[in-house]
């Protein structure tokens, strides 16, 4: 498909999000669409998918001006979208097969009545073609984040495709799965399918795309073949000025051990012995399913944990979230929508939620002025872009939501910070901000456990990385021994 | 009386059974509670096992309960119909199962009844209209407060009241509102009606519960005694209010006596005795003049909760 966007504009109320966007995507071309959080990438996606109508401007498909009045119209043109928030793509209580063929526009599985057997068989075949092993009868709510992401891709490919938009598809995938995804994208490209690929990971952008389009404040600031660009140029087009240091790592580790786990056992992790010092960032490497997320959840009282946990040298109970918070442990969940934010509450209310006690009188009355001052400071430190602190958090862009979530935990002044994918969906500039905040925290002596499937981030931001495989700690990497290859090697050795 | 032609008396026939099922249209109202009390008192006296069901003003529930009682082969089915038309299915079912069936309060429009006892609701409305006319001296503005719309008794009392009040040329009905036979609703409705019509002379409430709510509303505006209130049923609170001069009259239909009468007739039917086909009872208009007499009559029946302490 040859898609042309001509001066597309879109605003929400008085917030002009797209201010005249024009670019082309040719058949078999992979265009990387990058830009800061809130630049308008997802909004553009929704305009192309028929979910939003542009206020003005035109969409041309193979040279013909086309109005896509709803998602069905877009699908009829062979346009498929994998939306950024997977809540928008899947049906948690339906099976994998039903999710894949929910619409069944071509009535493949019967004109009126649906044959579930045939549907399941076909779903199994389609998944195998894509190299995925998911039981097609399972409910989607039982799948892991990564599996859901893969399922969405498979779902999109059940239709006849001419253009696919992938909005941060790798945010939830590990290295291995990302590779699989890239292979799929390449296959599509060879089949002549156009691809718009949205990502905050520049390495992917450079590895995959034919052309890069940078969106900044709703306008295209750069549109050039990838081969002619350097990462620095792209970043400059995104942020406005040059970012010299992506990973401003400071080493703040001291001797005092703040968090210690002895003989930690849980459903999916075993015999964990681990120490994190004051000001130290300990990364945990591993593939999906190695148990590192479970370990963090267990330390925060969300899953049962046998063994002992010590904070500041004294044993603490982490049987519940309250216990954990009482021991000044904070946990940044990887799923900000389901577990992180209260979407229709204000940014401010979300940010102060876990630390309200500090802003309330003995009688439990919230001191608004104090709250406003403290949240305001954190919000501006983290550069959360919000029209106002009292706007609903749901109206922020994905990356800004992530920063708001981060701000909530910074506010609790934790001693131990457990972070699972802290920069998922966060733009380059904001990532750097988050890293700076981590530096500030470690300078204050906070002990950090970091889980990230963004390997460069893990390597750069950790003082030390422990690698987990099948629920056990199998290696510890520091100094020169700490690099992406070694992490991968330890994470995979022994795996099939 | 409003018996239909198609209703005939069932032949007496002793079954030797000593149990009865009584299906009450509702128990959400002291009148029917008192019917039940009277029925239970009489059943204890005559050694009848009485099974009481509450149809909660639902025709369908009523029919279902009747069906269950029939399949249980109850000795006699006593019906207090939610609606006269809708009760005939229950009667015919009992007829074809050869179970004697009787009704009270409202007469089923079809099927064969062993007997029927009831107050005449249309007549009750008429009596109330006349009493109210007398109370206000034949002229003035009055208000009608209706019961649960769509129920038989509310329809009939309202019909009687409206027919009869129309014959009093100088009386104008300035408002007709419904309060669902409920005291609290009547209080709010009457309060509002009084706003629009502060100069009324009388109120007819289709039952005493609502009359009590009306009295509360009048009290708040110091109109008690000035505005004449006529109710229906003769519950204890109403008798007390009549005795105290707060209420002008109530068309008393002693529910306790009704309950007793019904079960004693049921005993006769079970015993194979000949009973009268139809017994339409007339309510007794109780005013300040005869309230003590009426209270004594109730005490004589053994209806303790039906009589206010002030009249014992």
């Amino acid at each position: 498909m040859h898609l042309q966007l001509a001066d597309v504009r879109k605003s929400f109320g008085d917030n002009s999000v797209l201010r005249g966007v024009s670019f082309d995507v040719g058949p078999g071309e992979v265009v990387a669409l990058v830009g800061e959080n809130g630049a308008g990438k997802s909004t553009l996606t929704r305009v192309i998918s028929g979910a939003h109508q542009p206020d003005s401007g035109r969409l041309l498909i193979d040279g013909t001006p086309t109005v896509l009045k709803d998602p069905q119209a877009a699908m009829a043109q062979g346009i498929e979208v994998i939306y950024q928030e997977f809540q928008q793509n899947l049906f948690p209580h339906l099976s994998v097969a039903e999710n894949m063929y929910v619409l069944d526009r071509e009535r493949v599985f019967g004109r009126l009545f649906v044959s579930k057997q045939r549907m399941a068989a076909e779903a199994g075949r389609a998944l195998r073609r894509l190299g995925m092993e998911i039981d097609v009868h399972r409910q989607v709510s039982e799948l892991s984040v990564a599996e859901r992401q893969m399922l969405e891709i498979a779902k999109a490919m059940t239709h006849e495709l001419r253009l696919i938009i992938l909005d941060e598809p790798t945010a939830a995938l590990d290295e291995q799965e990302s590779e699989q995804l890239f292979a799929q994208v390449n296959r599509l490209r060879e089949a002549g399918v156009s691809v718009i690929y949205i990502s905050h990971r520049l390495d992917e952008v450079f590895a995959l795309s034919d052309r890069v389009v940078v969106l900044r404040d709703g306008r295209v600031t750069l549109d050039a073949p990838t081969g002619q660009l350097t990462p620095a140029q792209v970043v400059t087009a995104m942020v406005g000025d040059a970012v010299d240091d992506f990973y401003p790592k400071e080493r703040n580790a001291r001797d005092e051990v703040v968090l210690e786990v002895r003989g930690g056992n849980g459903a999916r992790f075993h015999d964990i012995d681990l120490q994190v010092r004051a000001g130290e960032v300990v990364g945990i490497g591993g593939v999906v399913g190695c148990g590192r997320s479970d370990l963090l959840r267990a330390l925060f009282g969300l899953q049962p944990l046998a063994g002992s946990v010590l904070v500041g040298g004294s044993a603490v109970r982490v049987a519940s979230v309250e216990d954990a918070i009482g021991s000044r442990i904070a946990y940044l969940s990887p799923d900000r929508q389901a577990e992180g934010l209260c979407m229709s509450q204000s940014v401010e209310a979300n940010v102060s939620l876990a630390s309200l006690r500090a802003f309330s009188s003995a009688g439990g009355v919230v001191r608004r002025a104090k709250e406003r001052a403290a949240t305001g400071a954190v919000i501006s430190d983290l550069r959360v872009r919000a029209a106002s602190p009292s706007i609903a958090v749901s109206s922020l862009s994905g990356g800004n939501q992530q920063k708001a979530l981060f701000a909530k935990w910074v506010m609790t002044r934790p001693r131990v910070l457990l972070m699972d994918e802290p920069t998922r969906g966060v733009d380059v500039g904001a990532k750097t901000e988050i890293y700076r905040i981590i530096n500030q925290l470690t300078a204050d002596g906070v002990a950090v456990l970091l889980v990230s499937s963004d390997l460069p981030e893990l390597v750069a931001m950790s003082d030390r990385v422990v690698v987990m495989r099948e629920g056990r700690l199998v290696a510890e990497l520091t100094g020169d021994g700490l690099d992406e290859q070694s992490i991968l090697k330890h994470a995979l050795v022994g795996a099939a | 009386s409003r018996g239909g032609e198609e209703t005939t008396t069932g032949a007496p026939q002793a079954s030797g059974k000593k149990d009865a099922t009584i299906i009450m249209s509702t128990l959400g109202n002291p009148f029917f509670i008192s019917v039940k009390d009277g029925a239970e008192a009489q059943a204890a006296k005559s050694g009848i096992t009485l099974n009481v069901q509450n149809a909660d003003n639902s025709d369908a529930t009523f029919l279902n309960q009747a069906t269950t009682a029939i399949s249980k082969q109850t000795g006699i089915l006593i019906l207090d119909p939610v609606g006269s038309q809708s009760a005939s299915s229950s009667v015919s079912q009992a007829n074809s199962a050869n179970i004697p069936v009787m009704a009270f309060d409202r007469k089923p429009s079809g099927g064969k009844l062993a007997t029927f006892v009831g107050y005449d609701a249309v007549q009750a409305g008429k009596n109330a209209a006349d009493a109210l006319a007398e109370a206000v001296g034949g002229k003035g503005k009055v208000v009608e407060i209706q019961g649960i719309l769509g129920t038989n008794v509310a329809q009939d009392r309202s019909k009687g009241f409206q027919q009869q009040i129309a014959t009093h040329k100088d009386i104008k009905v300035v408002a007709t509102q419904a309060a669902d036979f409920d005291r609290a609703k009547a209080l709010n409705v009457m309060t509002n009606v009084l706003q629009a019509n502060p100069d009324i002379d009388g109120v007819y409430a289709a039952n005493d519960e609502m009359a009590m709510g009306v009295l509360s509303a009048l009290k708040a505006r110091n109109l008690v005694g000035k505005v004449k209130v006529v109710g229906n049923d003769g519950i204890a609170d109403a008798l007390a209010a009549v005795a105290a001069g707060e209420m002008y009259a109530t068309n008393a239909e002693s529910p306790f006596a009704l309950g007793q009468k019904v079960v004693s007739l049921a005993g006769d039917v079970l015993g194979g005795k000949q009973v009268q086909a139809d017994e339409t009872l007339q309510g007794k208009l109780v005013t300040k003049d005869n309230v003590k007499e009426y209270a004594d009559y109730l005490v004589g029946l053994g209806d303790k909760s039906g009589v206010p302490d002030s009249l014992k």
């Binding site: 998602p71 928008q88 099976s95 929910v102 590990d174 399913g289 | 369908a60 279902n64 038309q85 809708s86």
Partner: protein, 332 residues
């Protein structure tokens, strides 16, 4: 395979409750297990069950329909009035059309004006209850048509016609829900309306159609009540909506949408019918009947949920993240 078994087990939970109540009653009342009594239970259940069937569609869509009782009453009255003047077939058509129209109004209110269905159908419940009283002046409409009465009073192969109607309706609408494309759209839309819309499902149509189904089944239930009573009562449906919703929930359908089966609803309606029947058989004090009914509902739903709770509490916390089978480890 496993998922099929799980589904059946899920349904079975409501069945267990039915069996439990059934066994208690068989022991305590000699009459309970007789064929006539069981048919009576089915007969008495038919009206609430039909309302509950439509309600199931609506609840799977994460909506609610409080107007079913009023729709029943209104269409019953329309049917009875038409029957007097135009005869059987026009009367049935008019009744069904009335139910469908009320459903359509509900559906349009919910989809076009974005009113929460709770309040939209609460309002239409009030409107149609009032209209019913208004057009009848509160009086019941007698029905003398012999054929029409047959809908409520005749038997076929020894089984009362209303029971047949209930069974056929559950068969048809159960099949539609479980096996047709529309049924899948219902589940998908109830599960995640945004995803459904973005997947190209016309979610507004799906919702409107579900409300129409609910209205049509309410008018079918209205035929049964009217025929059984030989009269259309203006207040016939009052309060039935809560029974219908209770049946749906006891049957395992989630108010959150996306889950539920029509078979479960049938069992739920039967549980309620058996409780009513049993209390009448056992001569439970009418004052205590509400208490018993409330307690049995609590027990039913508790048992239903408890299987999950136990399963979740034992491997603690797994409650929060649904169990995962370890198959996926293979592909890495």
């Amino acid at each position: 395979m496993t998922s099929k078994l799980k589904t059946v087990a899920g349904r079975l939970r409501a069945v267990w409750m039915l069996l439990l109540v059934g066994v208690v009653l068989s022991v305590t009342s000699p009459v309970f297990l007789t064929p006539t009594n069981l048919l009576n239970v089915a007969l008495a259940t038919s009206v609430a069950a039909l309302l509950a069937a439509g309600q199931t569609y609506v609840i799977i869509l994460a909506e609610i329909d409080l107007s079913v009782g009023s729709a029943l009453g209104f269409s019953a009255v329309v049917t009875a009035l038409t029957l007097g003047t135009y005869g059987l077939v026009p009367a049935l058509a008019a009744g069904l059309a009335t139910g469908a129209a009320i459903g359509l109004i509900n559906g349009l209110l919910v989809t076009r004006t974005r009113m929460p269905s709770f309040i939209a159908t609460l309002a239409t419940m009030s409107v149609f209850a009032g209209l019913t009283l208004h057009i009848t002046s509160g009086n019941p409409i007698p029905v003398t048509d012999y054929d029409f009465q047959g809908i409520g009073q005749a038997r076929f192969a020894g089984v009362p016609v209303p029971v047949w109607i209930m069974l056929v309706a559950f068969g048809v609408f159960g099949f539609v829900l479980a096996r047709t494309r529309f049924g899948r759209y219902v589940y998908a839309t109830g599960d995640n309306v945004e995803a459904a819309r973005l997947s190209g499902i016309r979610v507004h149509r799906v919702k409107i159609l579900a409300f129409v189904i609910s209205g049509v089944l309410a008018s079918l239930a209205g035929f049964i009540i009217t025929a059984r009573l030989s009269t259309a009562q203006p207040t016939a449906g009052a309060g039935l909506e809560l029974d219908a919703i209770a049946a749906v929930i006891i049957g395992g359908t989630s108010l959150a949408g996306g889950r539920g089966t029509l078979l479960g609803t049938l069992v739920g309606a039967l549980v309620l019918g058996v409780i009513d029947n049993g209390m009448n058989l056992l001569d439970v004090s009418p004052f205590l009947q509400d208490v018993v009914k409330g307690l049995v509902i609590l027990l039913a739903v508790f048992l239903d949920r408890n299987v999950d709770v136990l399963r979740r509490l034992l491997p603690r916390r797994a409650a929060e993240t649904p169990a995962r089978t370890p198959e996926l480890a293979q592909h890495i």
